[in-house]
Symmetry: C2
């Protein structure tokens, strides 16, 4: 019995994952508070009862959604940076080309973690904390790239590049500026040159 249960869960986590995947789209498009569980059941085609079989609360579901989003986004960004450039230095610059591609998607609605932390504001809230963790992991990766590129003060430079990234993300969503990714990229190139030995 135990064997069959475990095998089933290992081999077919499909429905649960399908739910998280669909919920991600809905939360991203409409926001967290604005998305009710009834609407979520309708949009995903999965009954509310089934949803609550998988997740104790709406908050738990959101945390799972953010986990998936973190995995998807970091994988995509890191891969795209590698595809667009060879050297670590050029990859840091290519981050802003990748961002521009993202901004130009028709359904672009900003960064899910900025939104999450802004709807769940207290720093102690699990959703806020998990959003901060995502940013921390990005920072670690970019810092490593800056080190590999042999740049001076790789940690400071990484934080500065990420400030440009976050600024471009919210500016692209506000929509009052033509091409924030391009402006950010130009700044990034300048900063990189200044941090070269």
């Amino acid at each position: 019995m135990y064997r069959s249960v475990n095998l089933y869960q290992i081999m077919r986590p499909t429905k649960r994952d399908e739910l998280v995947q669909k919920a991600l789209k809905v939360f991203y498009q409409y926001g967290f508070h604005a998305t009710g569980m009834d609407m979520l059941a309708t949009e995903t085609g999965i009954s509310k009862t089934s949803i609550y079989k998988h997740f104790r609360t709406k908050e738990d579901l959101i945390l799972a959604v953010l986990r998936l989003r973190d995995e998807h986004f970091r994988n995509w960004l890191y891969r795209r940076m590698e595809e667009l450039a060879d050297s670590p230095r050029q990859q840091l610059i290519a981050m802003f080309d990748a961002l521009e591609e993202w901004f130009n998607e028709i359904d672009y609605k900003g960064c899910m973690f900025i939104k999450a932390s802004s709807e769940y504001q207290e720093a102690s809230h699990p959703i806020h904390k998990q959003s901060a963790d995502h940013k921390r992991m990005l920072e670690r990766h970019i810092t490593q790239l800056a080190e590999n590129a042999g740049l001076t003060n790789p940690d400071v430079l990484a934080r500065q590049l990420l400030l440009l990234k976050e600024g471009a993300i919210v500016t692209a969503h506000l929509g009052h500026t033509e091409n924030p990714a391009k402006d950010a990229k130009a700044s990034a190139i300048d900063l990189l040159n200044l941090h070269s030995k």
Copy 2:
């Protein structure tokens, strides 16, 4: 009669303004969707019926709140930049010192307009549009300062400085980085030097 009505409205717009002022604090602290009208009535001490005498809908109230916030914030930032530095060039740098003061306030919860645009995502939504207008007005002012400072490409530089500002604002709220205002300021100084003749 008409005279008395008008005089009354001109001389004592107090209650309405008091409502907007208090609603601003509540919306800023708890978010827009998360703040119900009953809670708002309780927190402001103004009955729901009275609120709806002044504003037809919750959305109208939010628009009034954002108008007040725009006025407060821009006045505060511009004044603080002037207090902290004399030359236009130094004032541009001082923007990040002013931001650091803001970030260190105990009730700091990020930028109200970023939050508003992220809870009302469609670019056509009045709340989203008004948030974008705020950013546009900031851009105009910073561009003017860059021109007065005699810097090359004042418009590009202004947009880049504002990318750093927005990035610092969301990073300070996420709370995963020590002192984003300091990082942003260092970048700003570098960019300013590169744009000097």
